[in-house]
Symmetry: C2
Subunit: 343 residues, 2 copies
C-alpha cells in the first residue's frame, strides 16, 4: 500500500543541484549534447535512482505528440492478426511508441467510433488492417492528416502507404502447384471483391489460368461475401449446385478453405482424393486440421514490423517507399494430391 509518489523533473533537478531545464536537456537524446557530460552523467544517475519517469501527459501537452499510434484490425479473433500486431508493437516500442489496438468486427459504425476515440486521444499515427477498397474511415482519417499505413490490404487510391504481399505470385504458385499435380478443371472460391486482397487474388486467378491454358469457365468461380468458414461452405454448395465438375478448389483464404473442407466432407467428397483444396495465409492451426492444408504463407509478423517502421518514418517526416510488397511462399501439405483418373 506504499503510494509511490511520482518524481518530477523539478525533484531530480533539486537532487542534482541544477535547473529543471538542464535536467530536461540531459535526459533528451537530442539535446544531451548541449550539456556538460559530467552533468549528464549525474542527472541520468539521479533520475535512474529516483525512478523518474517523464509525465506522458505533460510531454504531450507541450510537444503535441503522444508517442501513441492506433491500430485498427477487423477481427482480432482471426489468428493472422496477433502475430501482425506483435510485429507492429515490436517495431514501434523500440522508439518508445505505444500501440493501441482496436477491433471493429467488420462493423463500420464501430470502426468510425473507434477512430474517433483514437483521434480524440491524439495519436501520432495510424495503422489500418481493416481497410476496404473504398473506405470512408480511411478517408476520414486521411482528412485528419495524420500519417497512415495500411497493412495487408490497400484502398483503391493513390498515395497510400502500405505493406502488402505479392498476391499474383501467391495465386500463381498455388495454381501452378495444382496444375503440376495434373489438375485441369480448377475452381476458385474468391474473396470479397470489396477488399483489395479479394480483388487481386481473383484477378490473378483469371490471369494465371489463361497463361496456364486452363479451362476458363466463369461458373467455376464462386464469390464469398466474407472471409469466413460459412461463406466457404456456401460457395462449395454453389459450385456443386452449378453442376460443374472440378478436381480442385483454390480458396482465396484459409478460413474459406476450412469451410470448403467441411462442405466437401458433408457431400462425402474426400479431400484430397476426390478434390484438392488450397488455402491462403497459412494461419495458425491449418496444419492441424484434417487434412493439413496446402496454402500460401504470408509473413504476418514481418508485415506488422514493416508497417511499424514505415509509419515511424512517416511520423518523422521522412518519405519511405510508398508500397512494400512482401514475397509469399507455397506450403505443401496434404490437402492437395495428384488427380486420380486422367481427368
Amino acid at each position: 500500500m506504499t503510494t509511490k509518489k511520482r518524481i518530477t523533473l523539478r525533484e531530480v533537478a533539486e537532487a542534482v543541484g541544477v535547473h529543471v531545464s538542464t535536467v530536461s536537456r540531459a535526459l533528451g537524446p537530442n539535446t544531451r549534447h548541449l550539456i556538460n557530460s559530467d552533468v549528464v552523467e549525474q542527472v541520468i544517475r539521479a533520475s535512474r535512482q529516483m525512478d523518474y519517469r517523464r509525465h506522458a501527459a505533460a510531454y504531450s501537452l507541450k510537444t503535441n505528440r503522444t508517442k501513441t499510434v492506433g491500430v485498427i484490425v477487423p477481427d482480432i479473433t482471426n489468428a493472422i492478426f496477433p502475430p501482425m500486431i506483435r510485429g507492429i508493437e515490436d517495431s514501434l516500442s523500440t522508439a518508445g511508441y505505444l500501440a493501441i489496438v482496436g477491433n471493429t468486427d467488420g462493423d463500420n459504425e464501430r470502426e468510425r467510433t473507434l477512430l474517433d476515440t483514437l483521434v480524440g486521444r491524439g495519436i501520432d499515427g495510424l495503422i489500418l488492417a481493416s481497410v476496404e477498397r473504398k473506405d470512408d474511415v480511411f478517408d476520414l482519417a486521411a482528412s485528419e492528416s495524420i500519417p497512415i499505413v495500411t497493412v495487408n490490404r490497400r484502398p483503391d487510391r493513390d498515395s497510400v502507404h502500405s505493406i502488402v504481399h505479392d498476391e499474383s505470385e501467391g495465386v500463381r504458385r498455388a495454381l501452378t502447384h495444382l496444375v503440376s499435380l495434373g489438375h485441369r478443371r480448377i475452381a476458385m472460391i474468391a474473396g470479397p471483391q470489396t477488399l483489395s486482397t479479394g480483388a487481386e487474388r481473383y484477378a490473378a486467378f483469371v490471369q494465371s489460368r489463361s497463361s496456364l491454358n486452363l479451362d476458363s469457365d466463369e461458373s467455376l468461380v464462386a464469390f464469398a461475401q466474407a472471409y469466413n468458414e460459412s461463406a466457404g461452405e456456401h460457395c462449395v454448395e454453389e459450385l456443386i449446385a452449378a453442376g460443374h465438375t472440378f478436381t480442385a478448389i483454390l480458396c482465396a483464404n484459409d478460413r474459406l478453405a476450412v469451410g470448403a473442407l467441411a462442405a466437401l466432407s458433408r457431400r462425402n467428397l474426400i479431400c484430397p482424393k476426390d478434390v484438392s483444396v488450397t488455402g491462403y495465409n497459412d494461419m495458425p492451426m491449418v496444419d492441424r486440421i484434417d487434412p493439413p492444408l496446402t496454402t500460401i504463407r504470408i509473413q504476418q509478423y514481418r508485415m506488422g514490423f514493416e508497417a511499424g517502421s514505415m509509419l515511424q518514418k512517416l511520423m518523422n517526416g521522412e518519405s519511405p517507399a510508398q508500397v512494400v510488397v512482401l514475397p509469399v511462399e507455397l506450403v505443401i501439405r496434404s490437402s492437395t494430391a495428384r488427380v486420380l483418373d486422367g481427368r
Copy 2:
C-alpha cells in the same frame, strides 16, 4: 489534405462570448448545474458545431486522470478473450474510458514491461486476466496502488477484487452428467496448478468425485503444464501409459479437450463410443469440431463487462463487492455418451 486545427476551450469561449472557465463548467456534467442553462445551451451548441474535443493530455495533466485503463491478457489468440475484452470495452466506454489491451503470451518478462509502459503512461485502473496464484506482476501493480480487478482467475491473496466463475459448480455438473450416463471410471486432465482455475477445478473434481462415490484413483488424474492442445495430447498419452482404464475424461479446459480428442483418435479410440470427453469454457469453434464438445459454458462477455463496472466503482472510490461469482452452464453436445458395456 485539410489540416483540421484543434479547437480549444478558449476558441469556444470567444465564439460564445464567455470566459473559458464558464465553457469548461458548462461542458462538465458535474459542474454544468453551476451555469445558467441558456449559456450551457449555447456553449454546447457552439462546441458541437465547432467540433470541440477536449485535449486529453491537458485534461490529464490537470486532473491526474487519464481515463484510460490497462487490460492484460495472457494470450489474445485464445478465443475466450476477445468477447471478454469486448465486454470490458463496452462497460468502460460508457464512462469515457479507453481500454488499452496488451498481450503477454505467458511471458512474465513481457508482462512486466507491459505493466511498466502502462503505468508510465498513467492508467487509472488495471484489469488482469493473466494473473497467477502467486504473481509478481500483480504485486507490483498493487504496490502502485492503482485499482485492480482480476478476471477469470485470482491470486492467492486476500483483498483482491475479481470476477470469476463458480468453478466447483462447473466441475460438479460435468461430472454429474458423466455419471448420469453410466460412467464410473472417470479420468481428469487437470490444468496448471499455478492458476486458480486449475487448482479450483482440480479440487472440485476430487471433492465431487468422493461425494458421488466414484473410484478415486489418483493415477486417473494427469496434470497439464499449460492450457493448450499439446498438453492435452500429452496428458492422454500419460493416462493411457499408466495403464488404467477409464470411460470418460473430464478436461479442465476446452483446449486440453481438443488435444485429448486428437490423442484419442490417434490411438484409435473413438469419442464418444469408447471414451467420452468434456471440456470447459465453451470457447468458439468447439461446437464445430468432431465430435462437437460437451462443455461448461462460462460467460465471457459478461465477465468482462462486470470487470469493467467493478473497476469503475473502484476508480470512483466506491467499495464494490470484492468478488463476483458468475454462474456456469452445462452444454451437452456429442462428445459424451452413455457408457457401452455395463462398465
